[in-house]
Symmetry: C2
Subunit: 132 residues, 2 copies
DNA sequence: TTGAGTGTATCATATCACATAATACACTTG
DNA sequence: CAAGTGTATTATGTGATATGATACACTCAA
């Protein structure tokens, strides 16, 4: 429920999930939405840890996952930077979306829902948002 | 990866999730799909534990969640039975589907995907299944 | 060259969820 | 009464997570 700022980013952390997972996901979302520019430097592990009031190891864990995602590059002695390759971000977004969609459809089918059911509940869920 | 049988049911358990969660989900799915008849008795805690080669406490944990779902009724000294109310099963299915759809749409939007994106990836995911 | 700031690695410690094991209790039925 | 129900309790063990304290290799500006 509480907001914590780190540079231009804002984080919401709670106890429902591992901290490093929450940091990781919110960083992924910020990158995917272009809220951090390509090639931009993100706060250092120690800075981020202090801003979020979290242990540096926890931030480091999240940063290492980001690099495995291909979303960041770390330069020893310099810091961690968003990848300057739009293709890598795009690839991440597509793989993620495909994964989420597959999981959702498979999950619904495991409970016996047909494609028509799925479409119906999605329409209902969409109603809660502005159509873009 | 391994299949374990308990009465008419078949379970697949691994180490990727808590055991009680896997038992719970697969029971929910069996009930939602009508693979267990309304009012039917399900294996006792000890039976199920032996069939699945799992601790009775673990099975008990799953059974108690099932009752919280409104999917089963427990009669002390007799056993655990699927609810005989079709409405309760229907209600569970609807609430579950609504929840899954909302979570999915919200998750996709958190990464900046529009409704058109969502529809596109869903079509792609659907292609992996038979249209019913 | 030095010092401050990078990411990273390694200990130790603590907590929590999960699973198991062993018992025990209240209840129902044959 | 005996066997089979679900449930509760206590103890033990394990793994993931988080913290804290240090240390190391690297880069860059002063």
């Amino acid at each position: 429920m509480e907001e914590r700022r780190a540079g231009t980013l804002t984080f919401r952390l709670d106890l429902s999930q591992p901290l490093y997972e929450q940091i990781l996901q919110q960083m992924r979302q910020a990158i995917a939405k272009g809220e951090i520019g390509l090639g931009e430097k993100i706060p250092s592990v120690r800075e981020m840890a202090q801003s979020l009031r979290v242990n540096p190891n926890t931030v480091s864990h999240a940063y290492q996952e980001l690099e495995r995602d291909g979303l960041t590059e770390t330069r020893r002695g310099q810091g961690t930077f968003i990848t300057s390759s739009p293709e890598k971000v795009q690839r991440f977004r597509e793989e993620l979306a495909r994964h989420m969609a597959r999981e959702f459809v498979a999950g619904m089918r495991a409970y016996g829902f047909t494609w028509n059911d799925i479409a119906r509940f999605l329409q209902e869920a969409q109603g809660r948002h502005v159509h873009e």
